[in-house]
């Protein structure tokens, strides 16, 4: 009863807020950024903005603050760097008067705060970016409180694992031999069976070379094997994520894990732990790996390693960099995964029904407004400004991110546009926006690493732990059980 009353009061407060913003919009004829807040220019309110370290290091935050302060100097708002750790805990600091007014975080992190109401609901439709941001990105920040859905954050950019490869390691005859559908894209970038076949071909020709490499124990990077076969992380109940329904073992998940086990056999033991994650830049540069999975923000690391390699070969700095840029490519992971999980099949004999669409894990970063701010309207102004076309374009140009705004994504080149389209098409499984997501990593990491080790057990003459799908299904069920235990067993 008391909760109901609280929500009625909340609804009234939100309605009042909405009315206030609406009035401002009418007066100014613009978005939430105009007319919503009017302070004293001689004595401006100060907003503390928490951004990530990369935005600070690359100078984007300063550019954003300068632009905002210039634009809002007559409105009595000043934004400053919160000067806090990028992972500062709002739940611990906010209630005691510390912490930022506006914070930039990944959706799972922001929504952890939202669950305990440490961040404020936002009237998304009043923001300039609303119409140009896809519904799927907004969904990452939606939360259902007793039947009412609130938007708790404003999307800025999307992340997903990408495939980095060396163009010079493509087979010379790829257009005739590896482009069976004549799409102009090599088959091994279109489906996992051909990527497996080409990896095998490379490794058989030279045992020191490998095709596709990834740390198989990394749920985020190896997510195509864990999320492409109708399984899920948390189910939904009445439109709300249900952390009692854990679905890593559901659907035909076992086929994905079978594919993981099979592909691990074409890699080296480095795929069992985080060795590949650590050495992928160097090994791609020295030609040991043809392609490796990583996030778009690591592009510069691959590029620098490749440039250094060319410099060692005697090229000048400029020539080396130019050659590295030409040779290093970034694409999405292959879009088609065999339904059966058997990567050894001949793709040319497979029909559309034999494939399932690859799903990768991704995240949406965005802005949230602290519940403990004294200037919520001013914060809305800031968020609106920071997610405007110009600022997101600057952010994408400076930091190489894939923006969630369709108009910016269209102007940012192939990668941003491709990621954006994948999000719209549902190929990116956004990290669930609940606290319980913290508990999925270790159980998955344990089982994925153990399954990836199985081919090496066989090579050493040991009995495999997962000889068939029955054992793999049991392993997937142990993941679900461990996650459930971590969330619920001790919860009282």
């Amino acid at each position: 009863m008391r909760r109901k009353a609280a929500f009625i009061v909340l609804a009234i407060v939100l309605a009042l807020l909405l009315t206030a913003c609406g009035g401002a919009k009418n007066k100014a004829g613009g978005g939430a950024g105009e007319g919503g807040f009017q302070g004293d220019p001689a004595n401006p309110v100060v907003l503390h903005i928490l951004e990530n370290d990369t935005a600070k290091a690359e100078g984007y935050l300063q550019a954003l603050l300068d632009a905002f302060n210039e634009a809002y100097k007559d409105k009595g708002i000043q934004a400053v760097d919160a000067n806090m750790d990028e992972y500062t805990d709002l739940a611990m600091n906010g209630p005691y008067g510390y912490g930022p007014d506006v914070l930039y975080q990944a959706n799972d992190q922001l929504m952890r705060y939202a669950e305990d109401r440490h961040i404020l609901p936002i009237e998304a439709e009043k923001l300039d970016c609303y119409a140009s941001t896809p519904e799927s990105a907004w969904d990452a920040f939606k939360m259902n409180f007793d039947g009412t859905v609130y938007t708790m954050g404003v999307p800025v950019n999307i992340q997903e694992p990408m495939l980095f490869y060396r163009e010079d390691m493509m087979p010379e005859d790829w257009q005739t031999k590896w482009d069976k559908d004549g799409s102009g894209i090599a088959d091994f970038f279109e489906n996992w069976c051909d990527l497996y076949a080409y990896s095998k071909e490379l490794h058989d020709a030279d045992p020191n070379k490998y095709g596709f490499m990834v740390s198989m124990n990394n749920l985020y990077l190896a997510s195509p094997f864990m999320l492409s076969h109708g399984n899920y992380i948390f189910g939904e109940k009445d439109g709300v994520l249900d952390d009692t329904d854990i679905g890593f073992s559901k659907g035909d998940a076992v086929s994905g894990l079978w594919a993981l086990r099979q592909f691990a056999g074409q890699m080296n033991e480095g795929c069992i732990d985080d060795t590949v994650t650590l050495n992928r830049y160097e090994k791609l540069a020295d030609g040991s790996y043809f392609c490796a999975v990583s996030t778009p923000d690591t592009y510069s690391l691959f590029l620098n390693n490749l440039t250094n390699r060319y410099k060692q070969d005697g090229l000048s700095e400029e020539e080396a960099k130019e050659k590295a840029v030409e040779n290093l490519k970034m694409v999405e992971v292959p879009a088609r995964m065999p339904k059966s999980g058997d990567l050894g099949q001949d793709s040319s004999s497979m029909t559309d029904d034999d494939w399932t669409e690859t799903v990768v894990m991704g995240g949406v970063n965005g802005y949230g407004i602290s519940s403990y701010t004294k200037y919520r309207d001013a914060c809305v102004e800031f968020v609106n400004f920071a997610t405007s076309y110009d600022m997101l374009k600057l952010r994408a140009d400076t930091l190489g991110i894939a923006p969630t705004r369709s108009d910016v994504a269209a102007q940012c080149g192939d990668t941003a546009d491709i990621i954006f389209k994948s999000l719209e098409m549902g190929r990116i499984y956004l990290m669930p926006s609940i606290k319980a997501v913290d508990q999925i990593w270790v159980p998955c990491q344990t089982v994925m690493g153990d399954v990836a080790k199985d081919p090496f057990r066989e090579k050493q003459g040991e009995a495999p732990k997962y000889p068939g799908k029955t054992e793999l299904q049991a392993a997937l069920e142990s993941i679900d059980r461990n996650i459930y235990d971590a969330i619920h067993t001790l919860a009282g």
Partner: protein, 437 residues
């Protein structure tokens, strides 16, 4: 003692004693001990004001742990259960301090009465203080350290103990209100299927680990010190530098380096594969005993330099005549070590040995850095190399079960304190303190 003081004061017919019994400092004022009387009276007034303004509320809050849940959206500040628990605890500490002050007030007025010094003949405040400092210097000298221990050690431990009797953690974190749940956390640790087995399994390994690692580190350090003490060893300072260098590198850097060393992509596996063999999973899920042995070895690498330095210092105080006499009596090097060196070193280092045992029992870093991030079959959110402290971390930090974590901490505390106290009390270092002086 406290009761007899109070009973004596009650039985006293002196109006001054009865006055101090009723109002702290009043008897002193009636005895014309103005400064002392006013000091006691001021303390009482401050205490009454504190209780009226916040203390009474803090006591109530300690029991309820809050009644109004905060709602940041509506600007409802609400109650913070953890702060209320802390404030309640602080209030009890203040009450205890005032009770102690009240007893000193009674003792003081009884002494004045006993000495018949109430008619203005009593010593002045300053001379009283001087007299007290002279008679009870040990109390004055220890007051500050004891207060420090109370504030920085005892109160946090009591706080942790109290947390273990609540449901703090999981979904119950501020702004949600925490409740007292009695022994529920202990019941869950010791009775829930899976958790109970994990607890005893980890406890068993934890005891083996603590004993083995303490012994390896201790005797490793002693052996190294004895070796570098040998006359035949040239450039001793140079050789001593190496273990010290290993010690000087921050522990977690060393651990990460060892993790890399033993990983699939590390140099050890590089040479193994170069030699035509298959890579070995030294620290992976199948590692089993290998990972435990590596843990013991890495811990020895980090800890032996400390033991070596300690043993070197102790050995420098050895009476060399004992060895000479032993040699004349025909004792060989092993007998000399067993009968002279070892008893002397063990006697001097028993407290350090106990500290090392507790340190190793609670050695968090080794397996967290070497082999963190594994949950194994048969273990509840833990792996076969995790120690209780690692499991505690998995439960309380990774999974936010603070009350369960506190309960496990309390169990660890009981085990380690029981072991260390019983070992220390039975040791020669305690029973024959003067033997080697």
């Amino acid at each position: 003692m406290g009761n007899s003081l109070f009973v004596s004061a009650l039985k006293s017919r002196s109006p001054r004693v009865r006055a101090s019994l009723c109002v702290m400092g009043l008897g002193q004022l009636l005895s014309r001990q103005w400064v002392k009387g006013l000091a006691y009276l001021s303390a009482l007034a401050a205490f009454v004001a504190y209780m009226a303004l916040t203390g009474a509320r803090d006591i109530v809050g300690f029991f309820t742990l809050g009644t109004v849940e905060a709602d940041p959206w509506l600007g409802v500040a609400g109650d913070d259960s953890i702060i209320m628990l802390l404030r309640g605890l602080l209030c009890y500490v203040i009450i205890l301090a005032v009770v102690a002050l009240y007893r000193s007030n009674l003792r003081d007025i009884m002494e004045i009465e006993h000495n018949g010094a109430w008619g203005g003949n009593a010593p002045g405040f300053i001379s009283s203080v001087k007299g007290y400092m002279d008679r009870k210097f040990y109390i004055v000298a220890l007051a500050l350290p004891v207060a420090g221990v109370l504030v920085f050690n005892v109160i946090p431990i009591v706080f942790m103990i109290l947390i273990s009797f609540t449901n703090y953690g999981g979904d119950i974190v501020p702004p949600k209100l925490v409740d007292w749940t009695g022994f529920d956390s202990f019941r869950r640790v010791l009775s829930l299927s899976g958790i109970k087995e994990t607890f005893f399994r980890i406890l068993g390994w934890n005891v083996v680990w603590a004993l083995l690692s303490t012994a390896i580190n201790y005797f490793g350090g002693l052996a190294l010190a004895l070796l570098l003490n040998k006359k035949c060893v040239k450039r001793k300072k140079f050789w001593r530098m190496f273990p010290i260098l290993a010690y000087a590198v921050p522990g977690f850097i060393t651990l990460l380096a060892f993790k890399f060393l033993f990983s699939y992509g590390g140099p050890i596996n590089h040479y193994i594969t170069e030699a035509g063999h298959s890579a070995v999973g030294f620290l992976d899920i199948d590692a089993g005993i290998k990972a435990r042995i590596i843990g013991l070895g890495v811990n020895a690498w980090i800890s032996i330099p400390t033991s070596m330095l300690l043993a070197t210092g102790i050995l420098s105080n050895m009476n060399m005549n004992l060895y000479e006499a032993a040699s004349i009596d025909g004792a060989g090097p092993w007998q000399q070590f067993k009968k002279i060196t070892l008893p002397f070193v063990v006697f001097s280092t028993t407290p350090v040995l106990i500290t090392n045992f507790i340190g190793n029992f609670n050695n968090f870093g080794i397996f967290y850095f070497l082999r963190g991030g594994l949950y194994m079959d048969g273990y509840f959110l833990a792996s076969d190399t995790d120690l209780l402290i690692n499991w505690l971390y998995n439960l309380s930090i990774d999974n936010n079960y603070y009350s369960i974590g506190a309960a496990v901490s309390l169990i660890i505390f009981i085990i380690t304190s029981a072991v260390s106290l019983s070992v220390y009390i039975r040791s020669n270092a305690y029973r024959k303190e003067d033997t080697f002086r």
